[in-house]
Amino acid sequence: MHPDSKVASPRALILIPGSMNYFYNQSGRRIAEALGALGCGIELTTLDACPAEGYDLCVLSNISEILHSGGDFEQRMARIIDIRARCRVMMSLGIDCVSTEWYHRIRDYSARAGADLIADLGLFDQSPFLEPQHRARYRLVFSGLTPSEARVLELLDEDDAGRTIPWAFVGSSTPHRVALIDHLVQTVDPRGFVYMPPPSLCTEKGSPHLNQQQFERVLARTRYQIWCSGHSYFYMETERFRTSLLTGGVPIKIIESRAEIPASVPLDYLMIERAEVAQRLASHTYARLLRRFRDDWRRFPMLHQELARVLGEFGIDAGNAASRAA
């Protein structure tokens, strides 16, 4: 092809649930920004508002929530299948542990919709935890920063004088988590921020849970964000790590045993057994942990680089679109 020839930038449709758990809307917006950085034309919308046009790429964030966010399930599935016919590539997005039933639903719905791949917007490769027949469509898209997030990171300082809340635990209440809270109160510091309503949707408005903005306000005044999984499988909750990074704190995941951490996962020093949490969170280690966490993340690939790599495999030359745009 002649270098002066005009090639249209890829057009991407990103579907978000809109009214369900806010973090899937958030993931869709992040993907939109990253694809925008690659020079793609972006349409970010809900299934109900989706225009009847053709696209190079359709991203579903995530298909289960899109299907369940109102109206008849089968009619909504039919609309997604119709969109599939108008797109070159359909990418179903997940930010979930692949061993859970909610990932299995994403996998099954994605297959029915004809999605080409399931992109795991995560921090480590979960393909070893998948059965062999489900690995072909799985791709890890490392959840690196978007350009705007990278700018936020560079503006953060290391001064923790304003972080007057020693730790925060935000999530749904379960007996296992309640016992952990009791342990933190007894052994780490009783003054933690604890918000654990019973399980329900985390919508952007009107939910008893904190939304993204409220959660970030809490984390901006907190040293450690602490959590544990609501299931028994190994997983690194991507959004927990990312929100801590961008609000200037340190994420700490409590795990049953360090033996469950697969080899070569990043940030493994931020995953701690319950019995050792008090010793590991002694105040003198905070600054060291914070610096190491930020330095490590700066070495990770950016989200748009990861998307360009994966989409290139499916014939979408998004990386070169950015060069042309530049």
Binding site: D182, R191, V194
Partner: protein, 263 residues
């Protein structure tokens, strides 16, 4: 600020009815909480109100009062038992200070955290501040359940009280609102949440651990049939037309942390 806090002050009220063996734990945590409050400039007292206990509570309380009077412990004994609503009203009348923390004998405060709740009342002018309560069985090392762990929502009017009485009150607003319904020997707390909510008072959730509740085999809260009977009466009083969820609620979804403001 310190002078204002010393004048307003905090009374930690502990109603007791035959809970002798639990009193050292609840009173001990309250006295330690006073130490933390005083360090921030608050005046304070621990006020135990004994409802004609027949176990060893009276003797124990007299001994504890003699030992810890200088630390702020006062004990009142009533010769007859009416009900817990009457006892809570008596606490509101006999308290010396503006802010009133209700701590039952089978509760234990997290001493460091009481100040978060008092400061919330000071900063928001709410009627009540409450927070997470960890539930433990008597022999467990760790809690297994958390009570009072969510904000006031309109679903409160559908029944099922999810806010425990272990909470911190503006005593003036409590008295101004008429106090607890003394015709109730049960669920007086649920009645009060509904009363305050329907009268436009603010009930604020503080996202911190206020204390523990120790679950006993004979805890009155395990008697489901009594709860159901009183609950149906309360819902008839406060939501007979079943329109509460359609009406505005001044105290809907209020979360406040003194280090953050409203969240």
């Amino acid at each position: 600020m310190e002078a204002m806090r010393a004048k307003a002050g905090v009374t930690i009220a502990i109603p007791n009815w035959n809970h002798e063996v639990f009193l050292p734990r609840s009173i001990g945590s309250a006295l330690r909480a006073l130490e933390f409050l005083r360090a921030e400039g608050w005046a304070g007292e621990v006020l135990v109100i004994d409802e004609a206990s027949r176990d060893g509570s009276s003797t124990l309380l007299r001994q504890l009062e003699a030992l810890y009077f200088k630390d702020g412990l006062r004990c009142l004994s009533f010769g007859s038992t009416e009900n817990i609503a009457t006892t809570r009203n008596a606490a509101a009348e006999h308290a010396r200070y503006r802010y009133l923390a209700f701590v039952d004998a089978d509760n234990e405060l997290i001493p460091e955290n009481l100040s978060l709740f008092v400061r919330t009342l000071e900063q928001t002018r709410a009627a009540v501040a409450y927070g997470n309560l960890l539930l433990r069985s008597t022999t467990a090392d760790y809690a297994h359940f958390m009570h009072s762990c969510e904000v006031i929502q309109k679903r409160l009017f559908r029944g099922g009280n999810y806010v425990d009485m272990c909470s911190v009150w503006d005593r003036f607003q409590l008295l101004d609102s008429g106090g607890f319904d003394s015709s109730l020997s049960f669920l007086e707390d649920f009645e009060m949440w509904l009363h305050l909510a329907t009268n436009g008072r603010k009930i604020v959730f503080v996202p911190a651990i206020l204390g523990y509740y120790y679950l006993l085999p004979t805890s009155s809260s395990t008697d489901r049939s009594r709860q159901d009977a009183v609950e149906s009466r309360l819902l008839r009083v406060f939501n007979q037309a079943k329109v509460r969820e359609l009406l505005p609620l001044n105290t809907h979804h209020l979360r406040y942390h003194p280090e953050l403001g409203y969240v």
